[in-house]
């Protein structure tokens, strides 16, 4: 009995460590059983905890979709829950005016690549200092499984009942080519490297992007013979290839594989910093006074 009480006490202490980042009154989540969104949330809370970040220094920005629920309502901190596809423009505004905040966007493939795709590539090109965690479940999950620009060729969805005739984006490659500072791809099976990569993204300056391949057993999985979260995770475990190994493989060998790891990491001038610098220069010239004599905000 005494031992039991000890266990409970230690568990309570431990539990608190993560619950301080969560709105625990809304747990368990509204996600379907086995959904990858919960795993991404879990890894994110662990990453913030590992870095000992103060949640008050983070602003999370999100859009519409199941994945967009990861920061809102579950993560306890300042959150902007914006319209579908628009978290990146809102996040840009936050970063310009609040440069000391860590600005994090967590949203789905339909949101960030479908309706919001243009914002994504231009934010990468401009190298805006925001952290974008894309939850790529290859579908519009929340609305019942419509075709997304990430859905693989041939898959039947509610809007492609006879099979998808379109090619999907290779989104991590696209964002890397567009100019991001840091890009990596993981799956919800690879929780430890995913958590490390989140820590990297949260602390590196510039546009940092993680593509997280994630399961939607309800709106996608059941169409491809993966009715449970475990079946999808099993595929991620078996079909993932490290980017270093992929470099040695032919396109045929890579067919159906998920390439995981870091695609790019580079130092580059960053948009909001440059914008501020220019502002200071012009204002100093115009007013004839040094920046110490006036404040930007």
């Amino acid at each position: 009995m005494a031992e039991d009480a000890d266990r409970k006490e230690v568990a309570e202490k431990r539990r608190h460590r993560l619950f301080k980042y969560l709105r625990k009154e809304v747990l368990p989540t509204a996600f379907c059983p086995g959904c990858g969104c919960g795993i991404v949330l879990n890894c994110y809370a662990h990453a913030v905890d590992e870095l000992q970040l103060d949640p008050n220094d983070i602003v999370a920005v999100t859009g519409i979709g199941c994945s967009s629920w990861i920061p809102s309502p579950y993560f306890l901190g300042d959150t902007l829950h914006t319209t579908h596809g628009r978290p990146i423009p809102f996040a840009t505004g936050v970063k310009v005016m609040q440069p000391d905040k860590t600005v994090v966007v967590i949203a789905g493939d339909g949101d960030l690549i479908g309706i919001g795709g243009n914002h994504l590539i231009h934010a990468a090109r401009r190298n805006i200092d925001i952290k974008v965690f894309l939850v790529n479940n290859l579908i519009y999950g929340m609305t019942g499984g419509q075709l997304a620009p990430t859905t693989p060729l041939g898959i039947s969805t509610t809007t492609s009942p006879h099979g998808n005739v379109e090619h999907p984006f290779e989104i991590a490659e696209l964002v890397a080519a567009a100019g991001a500072s840091y890009v990596a791809r993981w799956t919800t099976y690879h929780v430890f490297p995913l958590m490390e990569s989140m820590q990297k993204a949260l602390t590196k300056k510039g546009f940092c992007f993680l593509e997280i391949r994630s399961q939607c057993p309800i709106s996608y999985g059941r169409r491809v013979g993966q009715r449970t979260g475990s079946e999808a995770l099993q595929e991620y475990k078996e079909s993932s290839v490290r980017i270093e190994d992929a470099a040695e493989m032919s396109p045929e060998e890579l067919e159906g594989k998920i390439i995981i790891g870091k695609l790019i990491e580079r130092e580059k001038e960053e948009f909001t910093g440059n914008l501020r610098k220019l502002n200071v220069e012009l204002r100093t010239k115009k007013t004839g006074r040094s920046p110490e004599e006036w404040s930007l905000s």
């Binding site: 368990p28 059983p33 086995g34 795993i39 879990n42 809370a45 919800t188 099976y189 995770l233």
Partner: protein, 66 residues
């Protein structure tokens, strides 16, 4: 030490399927939401790797290593 908050569990079975040491079995008792939580039947075999803690989509499992 494995702590499970059965009331948070949604019975997805991920912890049961992916623990490398096969520590869990699915309980035959349902929680108040109607889900079957895991039972750590081979807790002695647990190596404290925390894979189950991170893979659980519902913050239902905590591994205490200290």
């Amino acid at each position: 030490m494995i702590e499970i908050d059965e009331e948070l569990c949604k019975g997805c079975g991920i912890c049961v399927d992916f623990c490398p040491l096969k520590v869990f079995e699915t309980s035959d008792k349902i929680n108040s939401r109607g889900y079957y939580p895991p039972l750590p039947v081979k807790e002695k075999d647990c190596v404290g790797c925390r894979l189950c803690e991170l893979l659980c989509p519902e913050f239902s499992i905590i591994i205490i290593n200290e």
